[in-house]
Structure formats: C-alpha cells, structure tokens
Subunit: 237 residues, 6 copies
Amino acid sequence: MRPSGRELSEMRAVSIETGVTKHAEGSCLIRMGDTHVLCTATLEDRVPPFIKGSGLGWVTAEYGMLPRSTTSRMRREAAVGKQGGRTVEIQRLIGRSLRAGVDRVALGERQITIDCDVIQADGGTRCASITGGWVALRLAVNKLMKAGDVISDPLISPVAAVSCGIYAGQPVLDLDYPEDSEAGVDGNFVLRGDGSLIEVQMSAEGTVFSRDQMGELLDLAQKGVSELVAAQAGATA
Amino acid sequence: MRPSGRELSEMRAVSIETGVTKHAEGSCLIRMGDTHVLCTATLEDRVPPFIKGSGLGWVTAEYGMLPRSTTSRMRREAAVGKQGGRTVEIQRLIGRSLRAGVDRVALGERQITIDCDVIQADGGTRCASITGGWVALRLAVNKLMKAGDVISDPLISPVAAVSCGIYAGQPVLDLDYPEDSEAGVDGNFVLRGDGSLIEVQMSAEGTVFSRDQMGELLDLAQKGVSELVAAQAGATA
Amino acid sequence: MRPSGRELSEMRAVSIETGVTKHAEGSCLIRMGDTHVLCTATLEDRVPPFIKGSGLGWVTAEYGMLPRSTTSRMRREAAVGKQGGRTVEIQRLIGRSLRAGVDRVALGERQITIDCDVIQADGGTRCASITGGWVALRLAVNKLMKAGDVISDPLISPVAAVSCGIYAGQPVLDLDYPEDSEAGVDGNFVLRGDGSLIEVQMSAEGTVFSRDQMGELLDLAQKGVSELVAAQAGATA
Amino acid sequence: MRPSGRELSEMRAVSIETGVTKHAEGSCLIRMGDTHVLCTATLEDRVPPFIKGSGLGWVTAEYGMLPRSTTSRMRREAAVGKQGGRTVEIQRLIGRSLRAGVDRVALGERQITIDCDVIQADGGTRCASITGGWVALRLAVNKLMKAGDVISDPLISPVAAVSCGIYAGQPVLDLDYPEDSEAGVDGNFVLRGDGSLIEVQMSAEGTVFSRDQMGELLDLAQKGVSELVAAQAGATA
Amino acid sequence: MRPSGRELSEMRAVSIETGVTKHAEGSCLIRMGDTHVLCTATLEDRVPPFIKGSGLGWVTAEYGMLPRSTTSRMRREAAVGKQGGRTVEIQRLIGRSLRAGVDRVALGERQITIDCDVIQADGGTRCASITGGWVALRLAVNKLMKAGDVISDPLISPVAAVSCGIYAGQPVLDLDYPEDSEAGVDGNFVLRGDGSLIEVQMSAEGTVFSRDQMGELLDLAQKGVSELVAAQAGATA
Amino acid sequence: MRPSGRELSEMRAVSIETGVTKHAEGSCLIRMGDTHVLCTATLEDRVPPFIKGSGLGWVTAEYGMLPRSTTSRMRREAAVGKQGGRTVEIQRLIGRSLRAGVDRVALGERQITIDCDVIQADGGTRCASITGGWVALRLAVNKLMKAGDVISDPLISPVAAVSCGIYAGQPVLDLDYPEDSEAGVDGNFVLRGDGSLIEVQMSAEGTVFSRDQMGELLDLAQKGVSELVAAQAGATA
C-alpha cells in the first residue's frame, strides 16, 4: 500500500557514516533511504551574549538545502538574500531538540554549532538532521572529554526524531516524499533514548485528527526512535 | 499556586470586541487577560501564483508585535530589515491553523489575509491571534455571504487555540507570561469547535515529558477551547 | 463645502486616552476623528554613540502603520524588508519636533523613544503622532520626575502639530483623507504651546501658492494647535 | 560677520556648466561656491506602473553623495545596502519640486529621471540639486522638442531652490556648511521663476522662530531664487 | 620541499565520482586531494531575459561553501544575507569558463545551471569546481542528446582548470591550502582539452612576477589540465 | 581599422588632473579618452580588525558608477540594495593591485581608502581606476611624508593598468567601449613602473587564445603602462 512497498511500521534503511569531513570536531553523513544529510559539529569557546558569564554552555543549529537536493532546483538562500520561513523553523527545532539532551552546566561556557546540510532530499530532512546532528554532537563532545576539557559527560541521553503521519487513512512510520506530499496528517516526534518526549508537532492539512490517531502515531514514533537510537549507538561506538 | 491566583484549569478573562477598525472587512480586538491582539481580515480577489486558476481560495496570516507591547522595548522588525524566526514561525502557524477550518472550494478563488498585531503581550499571543483571527475571518466571510459572493458558507467549524504547560510540576491551562517563562513543558493546541485536533505543538525546555502528561494537557486544552469557541460565537452572533 | 461638513477652521473631534498599555513608561491613544494612533514612550539609560559622555539626553521616534490601517491593505514593512521613504521622513520629523520642546541638559544622559503606530488612518497621521507623542513623552518624564531621576522638568513647552491646506480653493484646518488627497497645497505645522514655530512644511502638488495663502494657513494652524495643547493638558493633568 | 565674509543677503558664486557627460540627454555641473553637484537627465519611454495608460508624464529624482564629497569619508550607501533617511527625504523633495514646474499632460507618457550626485559638499546640496536638476531637465526637454516628440513646451516656469537660516541671530541667504552646522533655524525654499512658492521647509534645531523671522527668510529666498533663475537662463540659452 | 611531499609538477590525487545525487540531470563529486566539491547540473527550458527569443542557450554557475568545509567555521552566507565578494567572483568565473566550451547555438534556447558546493576545502576549490562542473554539464548534455532534444553535441571541447603558483621560490602545480596561503604568486588557469587558453588569472601578493615565471606556470598548467581532461574522460566514458 | 582610427598600439589621450576635491587627502580626475574616473584617497588612523596591532598598514578600494555614466541609465546600487558582482570584483582588483606597490611596514598601522567613481564610461574603467587611484594614493602619502607621519616612502614603485584585446583578429592596446563589446579576447594587465607584472587577467568570450597571442598582448600592455607611468609622474611632480 505504501509507494515504497514498506510495512506501515517499517522505517527506511538507515545508515550513519562518521568522520566525513576532516575539519569538523564531529561529523556524519546520515542516510534515511534517499534522504541524505551531512551533519557537522563545531566547537567554539565563545557563547552567545545572553549567557556570557553564566557558566552555561549552548548548542545551536543551522540548516540548509543544497540547491539541487530537490526534484526541481531551489534558489540558493544566499542568493535570495535571506533564509526562508521553513529553514528558520527547522533550525530552531533542531537546536531546541538537541539542547534537551544536554546538561548545559556540565558542558561549561562553550558553544557547539550543528550544521545540517541536505545533500539529497526525499522527505523527513528535519528528523534526519536531528538524528544525525546528535551523532555529530556526540563525537565533538567525545573530543572534549578525551582532552579533559569537561569533567563529566554533558550528554544526558541520545536524542532522535522521526516523522509519522496518516497516509491513505493509515498511520505510517517515517514518511518519504511521495507519502509526505499526500498525507493529511503529519507529525514530527523528537524523543530521548529512554522513550520520553522532547517535542511533538502534529499538523493536519485540510483535515483534522483525533486523540486516538495521535496515540497511534506516538506508538509508531517510539518504535522508530528506538531503532534510530540503536543506529546512533552503532555509529558512535 | 499560580502567580495570578487562578485555578489550574482556569482561563484568563476573555473578551472579543468586533468592528474595531473601519477599513478592514472583518476585525476584532481580542483580550486574553493582559494579552491584547488586534486582528483584521482583508479580502482580495487575487490569489497567490501557486493556486491561480485552481478555483481554490487561500487564507494566510501575518503577525507582528508593536515595539512596546513587551516589558522592555523590542526593535521594530521593519527597522531591523527582516522578520525574526519567531515571527515567521508564528505567522505560518496562524495561517495553517485557520485554513484547517475553511472549505477552500466553497471560498472560491480569492484570498483572505489575517493580520494579527500584538498591542500588549502577556503570554499566549500566538493562541490569541488564532482565536481572534478566526473571528475576523468569520466577519469577513459573513460580508462575502451577505453580498452573495459565495454560495455556501466556506467556514466548516470554528478554530481556536490555547496554550497549556507544566508549571511548578502541575498541568495548567492558558499560561501567562510569568508562567510561560518558567514552564519546563509548554504546548500550543489548535482545535476545532467539535473538539478534533488541528495542530499540537509541545516542547520541553531543559526537561522531558511523558505520554500521560501529554494527555493531561490535551484535556485542559479541550476544556479551554470550548470556552473560547463560546466567546467567538458570542462575539460574532 | 468640506466632505465632512466641518467649518473651514474646524478641527475634527480630538480625544486622548492615556495609560493604554501597561508596559510603556508613557502611552496614549490619540484620536483625531477617524485617525487613531497609539503612542508609547520608552525610557532607556543608554544614549546613541554620538552623544555618549556629553551629559545630554536624546529623544527619538519611530513610526509605523498597521497593514490594514488604510482603505486597502498595505504591505507590512517588516515583510518588505525595509522602511519606505515616507516612513523614514515621518519618523525623522516626529523626533526633531519633539526634541524642540526638550531641554536636553535637564533630561540628562538618557534616551526616550517615542513609538507611533497608526491603528486607523484618515489623514494627518504624522501630526497626530507628534501631538500624541508629546503626551506619551510628558507621562514618561513625569515618572522620571516622581522618581527623582531628574532635578528640574526637562520639558520646556508642549509641542503639537496640525495640517492645513488649500482645498477647493479655500484654506482649511486639519485635513482628513478625502481632503488631503484632493488638496493642491498641503502643509504640516509644528508649534509650541506659546505659538512659536518649530517646523513648517508646505508643498504644492501640481500648483503653487502665494505668501498670502501661507499666512492664512499659519493663522489656522495657530488656532488648531492651541486647541490641541488644551487637549494635551487635559489628558496629562 | 559671516565666516565667508559675505553680506547677509549675498549668495555664493554660482556657475552652471552644461553638457558635462556625453551619454545623458541633459546634464550640468552646478557649483554654488564649494558645493558641486553633477546633474543628469535621462529620458525613457516607460512610466511607473501607477500612471501607465494615463497619458501623463513623470519626473523623478535620485540623489547620492560620493563617499569623499564630505570632510570625513562617508560610507558608500551601496556598500551599506540601503539609502539612508536623509537621502530618501532629499530625493523625494527634488522630484516633487521639479514636477511642480512641469505640465505632465504636455510631457506625454514618458519619464525623465534626474540624477544628482554630489561631487563636493559645502552646505546646500539639496538646493543646488534642484536648481541644477532643472537645467538638466530643461536640456532634455529641449531635445524632445527639437525631435518633435512633444508638441508644446511641457515646462511651465523654471524651478530653483535656496536655503536661508538664522545664523548668529541674523537672517542669512545661502548657508554654507560652517553656517549650516551652527544655524538655529534653517529653511529650504523652492520657488518658481515668477516668485510663487512650491515648497517651504523650515526647521528649528533647539530653538523656535517667529512669523516675522519666517517673513525675513522668505524675502531673502525670493531674492536668491531670482538670481538662480537668471543663472539657469544663462546656462540654457 | 612541498608540505605534502609532492614533486613540483605533481598534481594531487584526482577522483571524480558521478551520479551522486538522484535529482540532478548531471552530478559528480570531485576530489582533488582533500578538496571535495559536489557539482550538479540542472536543465531548464527557460533562459535569462537578455537572450529570450535569440535561439541561444545559456550556462551559468553558482558556488557555495558549507559552513564547516573550512578549518574554522565560516558564517553561512544565507544567514549573513548576501554572498560575499569572493563567492560572486568565483561563480562568475565558473560560468564564463564553462560557456567557453559550449556551442550556444547547438544548445538551443535552454539554460543549464551548474551548482558547485564545497564539502571540504583544502585549496583550489574554484579550479575543482570548473573541472567537476564540466563533468556535470557533460552528463546533463548527454541526457539531452539521448532524448533527441539537441541535434548535434553542443559541447565543443572539455574545459578544466588548475592553479599554479610560486611557492618558496619555485613554480609548483596544483597548490593545496598550506601552499596557497604562503605563495607570493598564484594563478588560476582554465584551458580546453586541446591546450588552448580560456582564462588566465595571475596575482602577486606583496611581490611581483616576470614574464619568464609566467611561462613556467603556464607550462605546469598545461601539464595539469591534460591530466584532468583524462580524468574527466574516464568519469564520463 | 579601429573604430576610433587609432593605431593598433596607440593609447587614447590620457590626462590626469589632480586636487579636484578639497576634502580628500589625495584626488584626481583621470581621463582615458571618454572614460572619466574621479579618484580620491582617504587617510584614516584605524585599520581593519584582521591586522589590528600588527603594525602593518592597509590600502583598500571602492568603486562605483554614476547612474548615467553609461549609454543607458543603470540602476543606482544604493537603491538596488547591494553592489553587483562586477562592482565587487573590480574593487577587489583595484585594492589588490595598489597594495602590490606599497610597503605596508613603512606605511604603519593606518588605512588608505581609494574611491573610484566613474563619471563617464567608455571602456577600461577598472584600468583607469587603478592608474588614477595610484595618483590619489601618491598624493595622500606625500601629505603623510610632509607631516613626518612616515619615516621612509611607503610607495615602492608606481602601479598602472591597461586593457588589451584581440579585436577583429588583431591585438590592440587600450580598448574603448565599441572595441571591448566586440573583442573575443580581452585582458587587463596591472604592472609596476619597472615593467614587472602584478596582475594578469585574460578571458576569452566564445573563443580561445594561444600563448603567442598572450605574448603579443603583454608586449602592448608593457608599452601602454610605460606611457601611463609617465603621465602619473607628470601629474604628481
């Protein structure tokens, strides 16, 4: 029933390749099926002005799509002269989600910037960015720990994200682009490795949804995230 | 226990004054306690390029805050030269939410723009904008109907929104600013008058939440929205 | 002869409601007929770089129109990405006019920003902004004086403004929009309460004017401003 | 008493050199003492959208200062990314002033753009731009007439401008920079060759002025403009 | 003597992997040592306004660097709000260079946009972009030919580029970042497969160079380009 | 054979008038035939952040064209809101070229900004800007030396630039606009007074060139620059 032939609760193949760029303190290329996102982590000793002197760390994110990551070419945001509304929303979500897994006291007064650049898009780029962004963050923090720059591990629990939605009347896990563009209800779920919730965003496009449906999607999301957390662990072992 | 002395499930006083500006096709000033938002609806015969010729209508929204709607003065976005990420996110949410209550075929190829301008802010401005925006939309559509420009009512069911969160460990309804700035978990819920869900956005700031807590907040949101829908009905009767 | 039925030298009804927003140090909603402007004053301890260390204070202004304050909707300047030429001109005029009534030594090294936001427009918004802006300024300075932050009153004399023009061949006071859009000669006059002049701006559109006509308009302006100064006094008593 | 040793009602030496650039349809370099402005007129067959099909012509202006036209270098507005408030005000004034001397029906549906670029500044650049801009306009219109593209002369009467102010307590004509930066009251007067008024802008900086003083400045302005009109006539003869 | 241990006339290892993104009509990832650039070609039926109706085709290019392609993180140009001068120069060079290998009549009225995005930088990114951009262009044109959309091959001869410079007093081929940042003289050479020249850019930084040195660098460039052309041929065979 | 009737190796008439603006520390108006560029030098004690504290000086350049310096009017870059790619390229080239003639240690920690504004364009504006910019720089440095602010002359050798190209199959010196718009190969050559090379930029438009042709153009360039250096010496003697 799904265009890809997947089961309702079947994720796309996930792969996470680490160390893909020599300059970043942490990096990975995450592939969720045909969605490919390059995630890098940059360590800096400075923090944003609003926490200067607080002793707290900061994790922030930026997101971009290469112009031809999509079916038809998108205009380059640098050429347009500003980041679009969708970009801004997504990078705020990534940063907020990752911070939920970080002990900012233990991190100390430093900033880690996660850059998520979509090389190829086939739905679910924001979720892939969060999941891959966590891996880049983990690797950068490992470097800090190895160097003795932090005393205890500032990462509390892994963070991962997956989309679910109602496609052709059925709850499905990990929407690809053909499903995403048809789904009446569509959600992004960010969870911790222990199954607790960090962020839930559900939207209906031209329809509504019930609490029962919301529950079904949450069930799928918890299943999906547990698989993603395992993939993260494999990649950073 | 709440700074305002309200019960856990008690909304702030709601008032909706209509017809507040003579030029707009629909307008209201919505007050949720000390949060005051001016909402106007503008009817236009043109539609955005991506639906030209489709026969479908469009509802979109813009959002702004007056510089001194807040405790300390914010820079005017027109002077900064761009709308901030928060503004962009909010106006996308308002538009998407309102469209969920609209039969775009019945509306016909025309556009209604809802402007939500915050005169005074005390938490919950995006929810007040959706609830008030719906009233402005209702009034503008009434004009269309009276003029015979649409055949059947293009508004399916009222749309309203309320925030809920976990404050001092307790689920509370309709957060004001002092609660909002302290709450670890914070959600915005957009519902239809019949209780079905349009949009759910829940975020944890430096903590996580469980499915049970999510259920409690949804219960509160449904209670709150039913009161808001009654206030909308009163204002547009 | 005037569209509104007013006498040549008759102002529109003026009302000034103070304390309209709880956050600003001074605020009012001024109504000149159907022109409604919300004016707020913000006190800040910092001054612009060019007077840092001079001991002098600064008063500045910003101006905006809500998108649907006008007959047809205007694009939001924050969305366009810059303030238009008319906005820039008007806010420079408001700031310059108000400073003419301020003893900047007595004010001391602090800044007061006057925000004038047009809720509904029907001609004369810049004049209403100056007149209402003065009230917001007066109220904010009263707060400074009450707190003992200034020793003597830094406000020298009230400042108010009115437009006059030649409409259908006759000099008329306080143009509303239907008159303004037809008038061949149109002026804005900023005066002090004692009748002395601060700023005179007269323009002919597709015609010229004589020194005699200029004198007649000045006579009207002086009459109008004396009424506005009385309204200011009433509102701030 | 004046820094330059001039009499109170003495203008700076005026020279207007025409034909200074081979590409423009009309051009001049106007020198008012040490203020040098290059003015060019560009003829185009298109008009702005708001008058398309009206049969009316349009005259508009743009203004700029070379970065080192001033005592200390100004940042280039193209590098800053926008035209400042002063630039916008001045170019609106130039366009409005010149249009007051034009019969837009006789001009026919075409646009003339006057560019005024300040090569060297010593006070009074906006007035020099208007006076020189008129010459460029006159020369471009002469070309139209010679080519038979207009039937009757669309220029009604010459337009020129001069600044006057109160310097060291005395009314003076044609302020140079040292005077301008000290003057408490300062005005720009745009007149037609027949002495009638087009635009009057008077401002007090930290003081006020009386109607009598306004009259004295107008007297000076009329004297000054009659000299400028003679210089324009000489240059375009 | 070279930091990398290479011979003076030895290129870095070159690899060109094609078909790296499923959406683009042509794509490759070119690696010149540690410089990795993703190049995609987008076919569009529209052309820029200045050649509409001419029957001629157009090839243009855009260039970007991922924020962490460099040793320390660069600000994202989309966030800054404009493309820097270096970016603009490089993308103009890439487009101009590639057009030199294209018969624009044979291409017909269509546009091909080459996007070059630097994944990892270690010197020579503009040359790698040209060389890889040609491969993406070749692949996209192959598609056109296969589909019968062009009659004869619009590509005249392969285009490739290499940098050369004077490092530690010696002419060296294919500068990497450590060499580039030290070289006193530095050039970029764009050639056709037949050895003829398309573009030569040589700059001295804090020194000068002689015609003899220029000749030596040209010799190296011709050697380098012949190797690159072989690699292009291998990748597109 | 050349549209102007010049010999293949004949420059246009060159004139350099110095001291053309009273505010700049150095200035000239350079005329290469109908190409007229105003060049000014501004001395400032501050340097850009990246060399603060290094003891080294900096020379930078900005470039602009007056809107009607060209055959048809160009839009003002300040109105467009950004400098175009061509402008950015040219001003980077001017700055880089001039720095090649400066001993930055001897200059000391100060900045000289060269502004080149094209009054009238007829081809070769970037070369005229470099040649004239050097004169402005020389004059400003003379002032520094006279004031004893530098101990030894920080200018090593004069810098001048000329364009050459292949027009109608023949190598020609100093292209004017009619030639430039037809030339298949076109180069800009920046040299020092002693004949050594600073910058070579050669481009083919829709053709290619050989090393022999490159040599012929270099011969012409050396001839041209020697004439320009003589003109510079005459102007600054």
